[in-house]
Symmetry: C2
Subunit: 334 residues, 2 copies
């Protein structure tokens, strides 16, 4: 029978459908059409982007080719870095001018590979760029949050083909994040334990939903998965701030991410997905009650009115079945 399940972090309910579970091949996946003509993110076209903020290259001047990872300001930013932050009321509403940072991390010079195809060392470089930018931007007192995410494929909202991630620094803490933080704080108040740490323990005991376990990171399909084949990656040891990771953790995380993305790509025929890092707000010192993590959400079906209207999700693939299928995918070490 179908089940209603409640996430103890946000209080969100989902319905898990167990009546007619679609097989991985039942999902219609649109192929990714790729054409690198005039791609601003390929080697040789560095002048087509705003000047780079940072890049990894062995030799050569800034904005020359031969980089392996490159970070540039978004050419059409949703928020701009210049100016004072002004807040005002507009009747019952609050308004701020659009101050913030909007950057693009070009994951690889190769137009035709996604993050799932990168080697371990290449994935580490991308994570290094995430970290370097997070650490730099938090020095700007106007910002309260750094959001790092990746949209892969059209169905996930990507407008450019070349593999890239995005970073937005915000003068506010976004609602989804503050909800998580408040929910986790309530749990901590009551139990004096981190809800994410408890979740990790439960997943490790039950074992049914784990798809990767390394020395420092765990990847699993959460018990309250909103989406088919949703995967979370968490540090096993409590840590609230993504940017507090050490060098060794980056290497372990690269392995966990590569493994998870490669399994999704192999099993589900290269679906579009969103990849989001949830971390604590800036200035939020190390918190006992929050635990940073990565959420990977393959876009396998449309989100319909029910979900939008209610914040209530219907997931047609029970997460233990999703995990079992992902584990069965054959992936290669790189």
């Amino acid at each position: 029978m179908n089940e209603l399940r409640r996430d103890p972090i946000t209080g969100r309910w989902i319905i898990v459908i167990s009546d007619k579970v679609p097989s991985p091949s039942d999902f219609k996946v649109e192929p990714h059409v790729k054409n690198k003509d005039n791609c601003a993110f390929c080697w040789g076209n560095e002048t087509l982007t705003p000047p780079e903020i940072i890049a990894h290259r062995r030799y050569g001047a800034p904005n020359s080719p031969d980089w392996t990872v490159r970070v540039v300001p978004n050419k059409y930013p949703a928020l701009r870095i210049e100016g004072e932050l002004n807040k005002e009321g507009v009747g019952i509403f609050d308004m701020m001018n659009g101050i913030g940072a909007h950057e693009v991390i070009i994951d690889t010079p190769d137009h035709f590979r996604d993050m799932a195809d990168l080697s371990h060392a290449e994935t580490e470089e991308v994570l290094w760029a995430y970290l370097a930018r997070s650490i730099d931007l938090r020095r700007d007192r106007r910002f309260k949050y750094v959001l790092i995410f990746k949209n892969y494929g059209k169905s996930a909202g990507a407008s450019l083909e070349h593999p890239h991630s995005q970073l937005i620094a915000l003068p506010i803490v976004p609602k989804r994040v503050s909800e998580e933080i408040e929910g986790a704080a309530k749990y901590y108040d009551y139990k004096e334990r981190c809800v994410f740490c408890d979740m990790i323990r439960q997943e490790q005991e039950e074992k049914d939903r784990i798809i990767y376990e390394g020395e420092k990171f765990l990847a699993f399909c959460p018990y309250v998965s909103r989406f088919s084949y949703e995967v979370w990656v968490l540090p096993k040891k409590h840590q609230s701030d993504f940017a507090a990771m050490d060098r060794d953790s980056i290497s372990c995380l690269a392995k966990a991410i590569r493994d998870s993305l490669a399994r999704i790509k192999e099993l589900l025929r290269d679906p579009s997905y969103n990849f989001i890092i949830h971390t604590s707000p800036i200035n939020g010192h190390e918190r006992e009650d929050y635990h940073w993590h990565i959420e990977i959400m393959p876009k396998l079906s449309k989100i319909a009115g029910f979900e939008w209207g209610s914040g209530f999700y219907i997931n047609p693939v029970p997460p233990d079945i999703a995990a079992r299928n992902l584990l069965s995918a054959k992936i290669e070490e790189k």
Copy 2:
């Protein structure tokens, strides 16, 4: 310059982009391919659905043709009506068996028309069915909420072409609803006024975002629109419960909905959309602090990682421009 705007109901922030506003013709709209062969919702195929719950027909037996609106149980329900509600803990999670009602309202026998194409009288009939089912289901003590919504078109998640709406009765109050209710209650505590009533007054004063004003209903593009061309329809007089509407209100609401949907269809070339009724929970007597309303969200662009990760939306069409464009659409009275 782009603006950050905050919704006083839920505390949600959005970014309104005013740099390069796309024109209505810039949105790529997929055409709706329609084929009525073996459609279970067309006249003559009544036996292909579970037996009807209610229907509007002048003559003829239940489950015969010649109806104008017909309500049937969903053949593949996410929740089932039979059984006791059992709640249990699963480690740190909460679980319930999938008790609920999942019904389909077939809006019209005509396979090829959408709600935007219905006459005033036909729209009234659909609303009558919404209301009749809401009133009936609230007598079931297991249910806390009745959610009525409509997905039109594939991009909005519709899996069947024939015009239909859906109703789900839930044993819990969904998160998005309780968030709204809590936010509105906070506002009421502070101001002793309904936040939605204040919003209506502000929209009426500023006039920039109104697309329809009738005797009893107002339709506008909200100041904090998450989506391009988002439209809300609200009763002008305070009312927390959709199902408390009288006959005269139904007629006025039909006009407001028809007008709004017809403008969206005409201006944006028949886009997919989600249509959701937000109303107060069952047993929630008449509340001073909540105000039922309808949210219409055209699906013009994909929701990308940023939105999912943060509950933070980027809207490329400022709502005053959306309203102006919608007002310019030529629609016919029916």
